[in-house]
């Protein structure tokens, strides 16, 4: 098993006829993702790499049958409408690739998703990939590269940086450790599935035995992962790296934020909390594969 996507998951691409939509549809299809339909309002009746294009998600659903996942490549200002349309039509997982999506739009998407029991990855995400099964979004760029860089295995990777999702996974592959699912949770302040939610999914996934987390300063995601571990909600070995040690903490713009969050969000606090709950916090990204290897050999837990 992997998390979120399987080989037979039925995938829709919204914005399939745009610059990014077309190129990434090719990547997904070449890699083996089961892309069954595309949507671009006004372009219904055409096709992109043999994927039929419809005017709406509802129409795609009627003509092609149930859709499990939608990968969205529309311009940022149109993301909200596309996402709400997909959730309303019954799609249970969205991957929202574009960046610069207004934050209140994300909150509205999140609100409807909660109501309907759906979830979403992103925005501002490269997507996710389960080696040998499927890629959603644009991880790897080209199918042949994605096959070379990522191999099936037992390590789950969750990262707030797109580039580092690929980099960490590639360095694991190089030392012979494959991955169950690698996921870029998105680079924005508010994202759909954040680190703690991904940890819960990895916890339930039998294929995943070790998890690597690439965190960054800002937001409370890493602290919430620590809380989750403390509460027993995540029990697998965790290797974590927090980026942004050198970045100056910056002026706090919000007193309200400071009152509610306290020191959460800072580099020091994230490292401290993760260490307290027994995660392996490394100083260098290049230490990640070394520690993973040691865990595999049973030298550490």
């Amino acid at each position: 098993m992997s998390i979120l996507v399987e080989k037979d998951s039925r995938v829709l691409v919204q914005g399939i006829t745009g610059r990014e939509g077309m190129v990434r549809t090719r990547l997904m299809k070449d890699y083996g993702t089961n892309v069954v339909a595309g949507v671009t309002p006004g372009k219904g009746g055409t096709d992109v790499y043999d994927v039929p294009v419809y005017d709406s998600v509802e129409e795609a659903w009627e003509k092609e049958g149930p859709l499990d996942i939608s990968v969205i490549f529309v311009p940022a200002a149109l993301v909200k409408d596309a996402a709400l349309e997909a959730i309303d039509a019954g799609v249970m997982l969205l991957v929202i690739v574009p960046d610069r999506v207004p934050i209140y739009d994300v909150l509205e998407i999140s609100h409807l998703a909660k109501e309907k029991g759906a979830s979403f990855v992103g925005p501002n995400t490269l997507g996710l990939l389960s080696p040998g099964k499927a890629v959603l979004g644009m991880i790897g760029g080209r199918a042949e590269r994605a096959r070379e860089w990522f191999r099936p295995g037992k390590v789950g990777v969750s990262s707030r940086s797109g580039g580092m999702t690929s980099a960490i996974s590639y360095y694991l592959t190089e030392i012979g450790l494959g991955q169950s699912t690698i996921i870029h949770v998105g680079g924005d302040a508010v994202v759909g599935l954040s680190h703690p939610e991904v940890m819960e999914l990895f916890e339930k996934d039998e294929q995943t035995e070790i998890v690597v987390l690439f965190g960054e300063i800002g937001t409370t995601q890493e602290e919430r992962v620590a809380d989750l571990i403390e509460q027993g909600g995540f029990t697998k070995p965790l290797i974590a790296f927090i980026g942004g040690k050198a970045a100056k903490s910056g002026t706090r713009f919000s007193h309200a934020g400071a009152i509610v969050e306290g020191s959460r969000g800072s580099y020091e606090n994230k490292v401290k909390r993760l260490k307290e709950v027994g995660a392996h916090v490394v100083d260098l990204v290049s230490d990640i594969p070394k520690v993973a290897k040691k865990i595999c050999k049973g030298e550490i837990q």
Binding site: S110, H111, S161, A167, Y170, E216, Q221, G243, A247
Partner: protein, 518 residues
């Protein structure tokens, strides 16, 4: 995050019906005099800068009469506060305050909702007050689909110990504050202090609104010049960079200066990262080697070669940097030869005088590294290209070696010269520039390699000369991806007949000013 000044924020609160003190902005002592005269009461003078704790730095003063206001304004205007020189004061009626409260809203990542926080004690030092008196603080998440309801605001206030008529007055203000925040896509909206005056009226005595950068396009009326997370006004070079980003949606280009004054002797480098995480990791590596960063820059998300070119030209507008360091995650999904070509064009034009270490790991990195090696042989500086199997730490070491070998020579900024294009050259516009081809040189070309180099297939041969294979309009709308391959091929392998002009508005003047100053 695009911050608004107090006077701008207050104007928006007023539109939504929140009471604010009567006042206006002044940029001269005489104006302050006139405003105070018109108000006809004692006034408060407040510097308009993005810092907290203004009172403690004499940034808020009171004047009894217009004469007094003029005199105090003359001392406050021109004050240096952190990175600001005070050029604007808010002159407003002085309130007769009975009590102070705090209300603030921010978007909370854990709850994925705006969180409204109220404190029944407000004013200076609110964060410390909150620590000592948690019982005076209450908070609720707001449902974005239906907004903040009156009773929710009342319940929030009740939990913070407010009751009676005041509960009604304040709840109204809270609902209006939320409406303002929502209307203007504010990631953070605060009133501190929110005050009750001796005559029983509620006023917003201060206001701090931070608009979501990504939603600034919806609010042209706010006149936000640079929608970026700054805690100071943007520098002239940052403004130039922002114009580039604003006009080109292909990929990300973020540019931030750490300093505008780089001493000749210090180990500053120009930094060109790619992707947030990879950039941070790379920054850590160079900082660990004792370097300082002149700037932070991110070119990622599959940017056009022309965009990376502009980024490099902007980075190289910083005098005295000792090296150019580019590094991202190491395993980028984007095709790295675009970045390589952008850097080649910029470095070649600049006749680069400082060493570069360029880590371009990812898709087609071999080709990218080869492009750097092939075309940068003849410039004075040494430039080395690296890939995914070379760590940022190793690359930082190489940077140090190359800078030492270059005797730590500081970078000299050069004037920008517009390319000279023959009047009769064949030319067409692209998305952000112009391509001209001097057809008179084409008869000597044996390979016609420009057509082959064009992966977008927009060029064709017409009687042995390259011309557009698509309409001019299509080329301008983006069919020409500005990959720079035709120009580089023609320049290095053939007749040097192709010129791609990619203007950067404002940069020429900026460099001239810098050169004059030195």
């Amino acid at each position: 995050m695009a911050q608004l000044f107090e006077f701008q924020g207050k104007k928006l609160l007023k539109e939504e019906g929140i009471r604010i003190p009567e006042g206006e902005v002044a940029s001269s002592p005489e104006e302050a005099f006139r405003i105070a005269q018109r108000i006809g009461k004692p006034v408060a003078l407040k510097i308009q800068v993005w810092v907290t704790g203004r009172a403690g730095m004499d940034g808020i003063q009171f004047a009894e009469n217009p004469e007094d206001a003029k005199e105090k304004a003359s001392r406050m205007l021109g004050m240096n506060i952190q990175a600001f020189v005070v050029d604007t004061l808010l002159v407003e009626e002085k309130l007769d305050i009975r009590s102070e409260y705090f209300v603030g809203l921010f978007v909370n990542d854990a709850q994925k909702a705006p969180l409204l926080v109220f404190s029944s004690v407000g004013g200076t030092g609110i964060e410390e007050i909150a620590k000592v008196h948690p019982e005076k603080i209450a908070q609720i998440p707001v449902d974005v689909a239906r907004g903040l309801r009156d009773y929710e605001a009342r319940n929030l206030l009740r939990k913070a110990g407010i009751s009676g008529r005041l509960l009604l007055q304040l709840s109204e203000t809270l609902v209006r504050l939320y409406r303002t925040a929502r209307k203007y896509d504010a990631r953070s909206a605060e009133i501190n202090p929110l005050v009750l005056t001796e005559d029983d009226l509620v006023y917003a005595a201060d206001c701090h609104l931070v608009v979501d950068d990504y939603a600034v396009f919806r609010h042209p009326e706010l006149g936000i010049e640079v929608a970026r997370e700054f805690d100071r006004p943007p520098t002239p070079l940052e403004k130039i960079a922002y114009r580039v980003e604003e006009k080109d949606y292909r990929g990300t280009f973020y540019f931030l200066q750490m300093t505008e004054e780089i001493p000749k002797k210090e180990k500053y480098i120009g930094f060109n990262g790619a992707g947030g995480g990879g950039s941070m990791m790379s920054m850590d590596a160079v900082l660990d080697k004792g370097f300082k960063l002149a700037n932070y820059c991110d070119t990622s998300g599959n940017p056009a070669a022309s965009k990376v070119y502009r980024a490099a030209k902007i980075i190289l507008s910083q005098p005295h940097i000792k090296g150019y360091f580019a590094s991202g995650s190491g395993v980028a999904s984007q095709e790295q030869y675009h970045s390589a070509r952008g850097l080649v064009k910029a470095f070649y034009e600049e006749n680069l005088d400082i060493p570069g270490v360029i880590r371009l790991g990812g898709n087609f990195e071999e080709k990218a590294i080869q492009i750097l090696a092939t075309y940068l042989k003849d410039i004075p500086a040494e430039v080395e290209g690296y890939g995914r199997d070379d760590s940022p730490e190793f690359c930082a070491e190489r940077m140090e070696v190359l800078i030492n070998r270059n005797n730590s020579v500081p970078h000299e900024v050069r004037p920008i010269r517009d390319p000279v294009v023959p009047a009769e050259a064949y030319a067409f516009e692209t998305f952000t520039g112009k391509i001209s081809i001097d057809h008179s040189k084409c008869p000597d070309c044996r390979t016609k390699g420009c057509v082959e180099a064009c992966k977008a297939e927009i060029l064709k041969l017409d009687r042995g000369r390259p011309v557009l294979a698509i309409s001019e309009n299509e080329a301008k709308k983006g069919k020409c991806t500005e990959c720079l391959a035709c120009e580089i091929f023609c320049k290095f392998h053939e007749q040097d007949a192709i010129i791609i002009h990619l203007p950067i508005p404002g940069l020429k003047d900026y460099r001239e000013k810098i050169l004059k100053r030195m």
